[in-house]
């Protein structure tokens, strides 16, 4: 369970986010400029809130009162970006393993096999990112995040750079992720159809104020 209660002063308005994200997909939607990216970056650790706390299963990511702000690389998050951001000098297999390499985690062939199967990327392993389609890149990016064994997944409009056909290709993988992995997933998007299909809970951010509606 992710437990968030933070305030961030922005030039135009002040962002106040107070919510819990249990296992499953917690969607954050809102118009552009409403502070969605700032919020998700605060969870990732690249933006430092002014007040409040962020806790993940009892571990403190951020606490203003005790001046704790765990750096991004120590939070064990899996961040899925709008653009896949695969490392161009590595093969797909190397991209998938790089998070474990960074964190000195031992190889786990069973997990590797499971995730490669789940995402259907077995035939791409020896390719370089420049030889992948947009949808393939995003599937590999999801796999790369999962293989680092994150305790929290952050997805920032992961489908918005894909066309409709590619979206339909990726959406089922997020459903699988939601249903099979016991992980909190914070999913930012402003596509109602996407959210309707994926989200367990939808939070709407408007001018820095977070409102809740359950589906």
């Amino acid at each position: 369970m992710l437990d968030v209660d933070i305030r961030i002063a922005l030039p135009e308005f002040s962002l106040h986010a107070c919510f819990n994200a249990p296992n499953g997909i917690t969607a954050i939607c809102g118009p552009s400029g409403s502070g969605k990216t700032t919020l998700i970056n605060a969870l990732a650790g690249t933006v430092r809130p002014d007040q409040g706390h962020i806790r993940m299963d009892g571990a403190v990511f951020f606490c203003a009162d005790s001046e704790i702000c765990v750096p991004t690389e120590k939070r064990r998050i899996g961040y899925i970006f709008q653009d896949a951001r695969l490392f161009p000098h590595m093969t797909v297999a190397q991209n998938l393993m790089v998070g474990r390499r960074f964190q000195h985690l031992p190889n786990d062939p069973a997990l590797f096999h499971e995730i490669v199967q789940m995402l259907g990327i077995g035939s791409l392993l020896s390719r370089r990112p420049s030889r992948l389609s947009g949808g393939e890149k995003q599937r590999v990016a999801i796999g790369r995040a999962l293989l680092a064994e994150p305790q929290l997944i952050l997805a920032d409009e992961p489908l918005s750079s894909l066309d409709a056909a590619r979206k339909d290709e990726i959406l089922p993988y997020f459903e699988t992720l939601r249903d099979q992995k016991a992980l909190p997933i914070v999913y930012v998007s402003h596509q109602p159809d996407e959210l309707k299909r994926l989200a367990n809970t939808t939070l709407t951010l408007d001018q820095g104020v977070l409102g809740q509606e359950s589906n």
């Binding site: 991004t72 490392f87 000098h89 093969t91 790089v98 995040a145």
Partner: protein, 231 residues
């Protein structure tokens, strides 16, 4: 090579290659670090560091050589201290390496810096979310992606070091077999009657190696970029 170069000419050629090789190799780690700092860091005194790095490009080489002599000569501020632990630059081929390294440094740093600046910083951010420490981000992401610049910079620095004359002759003089590199040898041959043929042969060598370095660096940079990006 001895078929068409006299022993004295061949000696100058080999010495030049040795000096340029060590000048490039020795300055590479520091050059990569300076390039990275200039490309990725904001700090007080950055334009001063940038100016310092590029200074040898603009200063008269004789001034650089003079400063080196002041600093690293046997009576120099640093040289006196280094001499006590057995490191001597003055009038030695290692001094020629130092002079060549400093004169070639701007080209080395510039090529690597441009290469690092061209890397999408968001890739480094992505590495961070995957748990990469600053050191891992540098060695596993940034440096491999900057490899085309490292290769180009090294080749250009090597070619520049090969041609260094002013700072070298000022700092370590023109001693056959020790500090008489190709440019110094050309200069010497031009001073003696009957040396014109030797000078011409070395001039042709200098032109050939410079041209080769330019073509090679261009080609290699493209090739390495293709390999790095997997195209």
């Amino acid at each position: 090579m001895s078929d068409w170069l006299s022993p004295a000419e061949a000696e100058a050629v080999w010495l030049s290659l040795k000096v340029a090789f060590w000048a490039t190799l020795a300055s590479l780690p520091f050059g990569i670090w300076v390039a990275w700092v200039l490309a990725r860091k904001e700090f007080w005194g950055k334009s001063l560091l940038n100016g310092l790095v590029h200074m040898p490009l603009i200063l008269p080489p004789v001034v650089t050589g003079y400063l080196l002599l002041m600093l690293f000569g046997t009576q120099g501020a640093i040289g006196r201290w280094l001499a006590e632990i057995g490191i001597v630059f003055a009038f030695s081929w290692t001094g020629a390496v130092l002079a060549a390294a400093i004169m070639a440094f701007p080209m080395l740093v510039r090529a690597i810096r441009l290469s690092i600046e061209a890397i999408d910083r968001r890739l480094e951010d992505a590495a961070r979310t995957l748990g990469a420490s600053p050191r891992q981000r540098f060695f596993i992401i940034t440096l491999p992606l900057a490899l085309p610049g490292v290769v180009t910079g090294s080749i250009l620095a090597f070619a520049k070091a090969l041609g260094e004359f002013g700072a070298t002759i000022t700092f370590v003089s023109n001693i056959p077999g020790e500090t008489r590199t190709v440019p110094s040898a050309i200069y010497s041959f031009m001073q003696v009657p009957g040396g014109e043929d030797s000078a011409l042969r070395l001039v042709l060598f200098a032109i050939a190696i410079s041209m080769l370095a330019l073509i090679l660096s261009e080609w290699l940079a493209k090739r390495v970029a293709q390999v790095v990006e997997g195209r």
